[in-house]
């Protein structure tokens, strides 16, 4: 069995750590690229959202490398993500391609025994003992948390660093070296090394960089290919920015959801504008916008794929937040037809706007 999973931000690092630890062969799809998008768009319903199309491309490219089993998390609506697996299975079946799907869904939907069945389908190929398997799961989780931490630290430092480009450089070297690691322990060591290295970045404490919050649909904000490397560009511009939605946040949110203890702060901030969840991360998007204003950010950029239902709801609310709190928010919509130049122009114009506001501003009350 050769397992593959679609790209989802930095999850491929954790996936590699997990499957290396379990001793299961893992085929990492090539990093998201134009060909993946083309393959995906060709074999997807036209009006499907961008994440679906890119994931399709991942599967095709992984199959070329020999993958035969795909792992996909599920959800139970109301966002479309929960239906991805079924459509993808149908497509591969009608193409006559052999790709087995293991869909990890919530135990409420599947029942515990079915969930364990599905997990077992993969873990039974591991030679490790139950204890060893759990250990590698924990290591994978550690990898996930580490890379998210390093990444968000780099995003913060990029506005303050004295030697321009240092934070970005360390981040990208960290990602590359981590991929080369031969075992999970080494990967963790590599990340620890770079985490320490980040501490040696010289910062200018007197700088007051522009601060931006990245909000919106989770896939399009954590997957650099889908947003034209927005984060790399912001680091180049010397902007400090943060993104609350990360894969590790997502896991935590999912675990705490049944208890109603997930993302308390964000949900509380969203309450005045959107009291009920609308699926996906629509409510989070609204809450983060309010929170960003309170935390002293200069503006927020919302990114979402064309036709994303939850984000359309939040997009219609954001202008009110923007007016109420005097807080600039820009919405960017991406799909397979988006052009990079237009996208970049808008981001640059937005940063210019924030800088000028700064220049004219009175001290905040």
């Amino acid at each position: 069995m050769k397992v593959t999973a679609p790209h989802f931000g930095n999850v491929h690092l954790a996936a590699k750590a997990l499957f290396d630890g379990l001793g299961i062969e893992y085929v990492m799809p090539p990093m998201n690229n134009k060909i993946a998008l083309e393959l995906g768009s060709k074999n997807s319903p036209e009006e499907m959202c961008l994440p679906y199309k890119i994931m399709m491309g991942n599967f095709f490219q992984a199959m070329e490398l020999g993958a035969d089993t795909a792992i996909l998390p599920g959800s139970c609506g109301p966002c479309r993500f929960g239906k991805y697996a079924e459509l993808q299975m149908n497509t591969f079946k009608s193409l006559g391609r052999d790709l087995d799907f293991v869909v990890i869904d919530s135990p409420v939907e599947l029942g515990l025994s079915e969930l364990f069945n599905r997990i077992n389908k993969i873990s039974s190929h591991s030679k490790e003992s139950r204890y060893g398997q759990i250990k590698s799961l924990l290591k994978a989780k550690r990898v996930m948390n580490l890379i998210d931490e390093i990444e968000s630290r780099a995003h913060f430092l990029s506005g303050y660093e004295k030697n321009k480009g240092e934070a970005k450089d360390i981040l990208s070297r960290c990602k590359n070296d981590a991929l080369e690691a031969s075992c999970p322990d080494q990967m963790i060591r590599v990340m620890d090394y770079y985490r320490n290295k980040q501490k040696s970045i010289e910062v200018d404490r007197d700088k007051r960089p522009i601060k931006i919050a990245i909000i919106g649909e989770i896939y399009t904000i954590i997957e650099p290919f889908s947003n034209f490397n927005l984060e790399d560009k912001l680091m180049d511009y010397g902007v400090t920015f943060s993104r609350k939605l990360t894969p590790s946040w997502w896991m935590k949110d999912l675990m705490l959801k049944p208890l109603g203890l997930n993302s308390l702060k964000i949900n509380q901030k969203a309450k005045d504008y959107l009291p009920l969840g609308v699926g996906g991360h629509g409510k989070e998007c609204v809450g983060e916008a309010v929170l960003a204003r309170e935390e002293g950010y200069d503006g927020a950029i919302q990114v979402f794929p064309l036709g994303c239902m939850p984000e359309i709801v939040s997009k219609s609310i954001l202008p009110t937040i923007s007016a109420d709190l005097d807080f600039p928010i820009m919405s960017l919509v991406v799909d397979e037809m988006s052009g990079e130049a237009g996208f970049v122009t808008r981001v640059e114009a937005f940063i210019d706007l924030l800088e000028r506001r700064r220049a004219n501003e009175l001290p905040r009350a």
């Binding site: 319903p45 009006e47 109301p78 929960g82 079924e86 239902m309």
Partner: protein, 295 residues
């Protein structure tokens, strides 16, 4: 007290309930006009660009009502069946309206969970208390409204035509004859009868859903898929037309599932948006009907 009822979205399915309920409480209800060019334009003007046509039309209806009534009903329908949703945009409908249209009167926007009578009554109690009605009155008028609703069936089942096609899609696309440019009348004029999903029982739909890998979590998906899959398998019709709005997230999934299932049957998808031209639509319908004749 005048309560405005916008003729958009699930109005066509549930207006008897809402009207009867509010009238029972002693309020006047005021429906907006049938959808027309003005309402569509108002909707497009007010609504966020990315939204689908039905949501824009709904915005237009609200805008046309806002100066004529004291309260406007914005049904935030969260759930009709257990463990199913309608659409994310329905859950956030009041927020979309509130943040897009200025100078609105009060809104009746309590969440509606209609999976059981008890849950639905929660809505009735909250909405009724906004009108200052007491509990007895609310209960009476609620029971009466449910009766009226139970007798209501907006569905179409034509019998006296030479060929029959199944008309699939969300109710607001099928019953709003401005939005779909009078497709039912056009088909009838071509000697084509129409049948809609209301005439297939819930149990049959549930039965059909078993062929899916995963239970659909949208009520629209259950209805459309269950209906079309059954009717195609039984060969009760000569063809299927699916009316869908551009950028509808749910339909992007449902249409694929249905296509897969009804491969042996003529199947056409009509996409509607605010730019749809009538001539193009006519040509496609005519071509589709011609094709069925020739088969």
């Amino acid at each position: 007290m005048i309560i405005g009822i916008p003729k958009g979205l699930l109005y066509y399915d549930y207006y008897p309930f809402f009207e009867s309920f509010f009238q029972g409480l002693g309020a006047h209800t005021l429906r907006s006009e049938d959808t027309n060019k003005n309402i569509l334009d108002e909707g497009v003007k007010h609504c966020v660009d990315e939204a689908c046509l039905p949501v824009k039309v709904f915005h237009g209806h609200v805008a046309s009502l806002k100066d004529q009534c004291d309260l406007i009903l914005i049904p935030r329908i969260m759930q009709i069946n257990q463990k199913e949703y309608i659409c994310p945009k329905f859950c956030g409908l009041p927020e979309m309206v509130k943040n897009s249209i200025e100078d609105l009167p009060g809104l009746i926007d309590q969440p509606i969970y209609a999976s059981s009578k008890k849950k639905l009554f929660t809505w009735a109690r909250e909405a009724g208390s906004m009108l200052g009605a007491d509990r007895r009155l609310i209960e009476n008028s609620f029971t009466k409204a449910l009766d009226v609703q139970a007798r209501h069936n907006p569905g179409i089942r034509d019998e006296k035509y030479r060929i029959t096609i199944a008309l699939g899609g969300h109710p607001y696309n099928i019953y709003d004859s401005f939005v779909n440019m009078n497709i039912v009348a056009k088909l009838n004029a071509m000697d084509v009868g129409v049948i809609t999903e209301e005439y297939i029982g819930e149990e049959i739909k549930s039965q059909e859903l078993r062929s899916l890998y995963k239970r659909p979590f949208w009520t629209f998906a259950r209805n459309s898929y269950g209906f079309l899959s059954y009717i195609a398998r039984e060969r009760r019709v000569d063809g299927i037309i699916y009316i869908s709005s551009f950028a509808c997230g749910i339909d992007s999934v449902v249409i694929e599932l249905v296509k897969e299932r009804v491969a042996n049957m003529p199947f056409m998808v009509l996409k509607l948006d605010e730019h749809t031209g009538e001539a193009g639509l006519d040509t496609r319908i005519e071509a589709f009907v011609d094709m069925i004749w020739r088969r």
